[in-house]
């Protein structure tokens, strides 16, 4: 490179002398040719310098392993995060619908019990104030009997709906785990970008190496549809089968 530069400067000086001579001699065409040659030499120097910088940047990136990590982030991790977040939307959507369905089904049951009880209460008050005829009392007895008959069944139904609402809340644990992973990825991207910025500021400074964190991915968390691990079991039944094959 140093040799190239000195030859280039020598050639520049030569062209410059020729240029002055041509102008003094009034040879305009030749003067223009020399001017063009000088700027061509300069451009060559600039492109060589650009090429050198690009090569150094590339070498440094490869040396730090950042290039492959960023490729990996762009090709796998970010689309993967997108899938995971879409799964979060699906899971929360399902949970909201399960909850709403349970509420919608439980409310009419409550209303049925409420109406039946308030009707009985009205007649019961009349009975207490001795305002009820024998026929009306027989009717009231029938209503009380009917109310008691449906009560146990309706309360069980309401309890089932409440339990469905309870179970629907399990989305928070599942989505929480998934979102935590995506937060980790965002942190990772941030660290890589900071690393890149540091690199571009100190291309020639080899002492400023970016520390590589060992990638530890022992636990996978909830399986995401379409992204399941090869060895992930798909249902509780499969888990039970595996455990029974292990003597459980």
């Amino acid at each position: 490179m140093a040799l190239n530069e000195s030859i280039l400067s020598e050639r520049c000086l030569e062209q410059a002398r020729e240029l002055v001579r041509s102008i003094e001699n009034g040879e305009e065409d030749r003067a223009i040719d020399h001017l063009r040659e000088i700027s061509r030499i300069n451009e060559t120097k600039m492109f060589q310098e650009l090429g050198r910088l690009t090569r150094e940047l590339h070498d440094t990136l490869v040396g730090f392993g950042i290039e492959t990590e960023i490729t990996d982030l762009a090709e796998h991790e970010i689309p993967d995060a997108r899938e995971r977040l879409s799964h979060v939307i699906n899971v929360t959507d399902q949970a909201a619908h399960k909850t709403l369905t349970a509420v919608e089904e439980a409310i009419p049951v409550c209303e049925e019990l409420e109406n039946s009880a308030s009707k009985i209460e009205h007649q019961w008050k009349r009975f207490i104030s001795r305002d009820l005829s024998a026929d009306e009392f027989r009717e009231l007895s029938r209503e009380i009997g009917g109310h008691l008959e449906i009560s146990a069944d309706r309360y069980t139904k309401i309890k089932d709906h409440l339990n469905a609402i309870l179970m629907a809340q399990d989305f928070q644990d599942i989505t929480g785990q998934i979102i935590r992973r995506v937060i980790g990825l965002v942190q990772d991207v941030e660290d890589k970008l900071v690393g890149l910025i540091k690199l571009s500021g100190s291309l020639d400074d080899d002492t400023n190496k970016v520390e590589r964190k060992p990638v530890e991915k022992v636990l996978e968390g909830p399986q995401v549809p379409g992204q399941e691990s090869a060895t992930a079991l798909k249902s509780q039944d499969e888990v039970d089968d595996l455990l029974s094959s292990l003597g459980f």
Binding site: M167, D173, Q177, L219, T231, K234, L242
Partner: protein, 130 residues
């Protein structure tokens, strides 16, 4: 199965702890306590007379699998029945849990019937072996 038995529920998500607590109450178990990871659970287990441990796997601090190993390594706790309730569904993990001496394994998301079935099975086996 003794419905008064003392159960420790370990999960880093409080919503999941509440769900498990409510499901257990529905099954007739009212004597429960909660911890948010292995590091808080282990001293509670060592200090209290717990009869059953229900734990998540993936938690910050001490993970469920390490809690299970610590329990099995502790002379006083070694025979404590342990049920893992976790989103980890990989074969390697289930095998690891089995080797560490887990009594039952429920994969999230799960339902009330599964939890009931696994708990009943654990105590049936324990009663049968006594």
């Amino acid at each position: 199965m003794n419905k008064d038995m003392k159960i420790l529920i370990v999960d880093d998500f409080s919503t999941m702890r509440r769900i498990i607590k409510n499901l257990l109450r529905d099954l007739g178990f009212n004597n429960t306590a909660e911890a948010d990871d292995g590091n808080t659970a282990l001293p509670m287990l060592q200090a209290g007379d717990f009869d059953f441990l229900v734990t998540d796997w993936n938690m910050p601090g001490m993970e469920g699998i390490d809690l299970l190993k610590a329990v099995r390594a502790d002379e006083k706790l070694a025979n404590l029945p342990v049920l893992l309730v976790t989103a980890e569904a990989k074969k390697e993990q289930i095998v690891e849990a089995a080797q560490a001496g887990v009594n039952g394994y429920v994969v999230k998301p799960f339902n009330a019937a599964t939890l009931k079935e696994k708990i009943e099975k654990i105590f049936e086996r324990i009663e049968a072996s006594q």
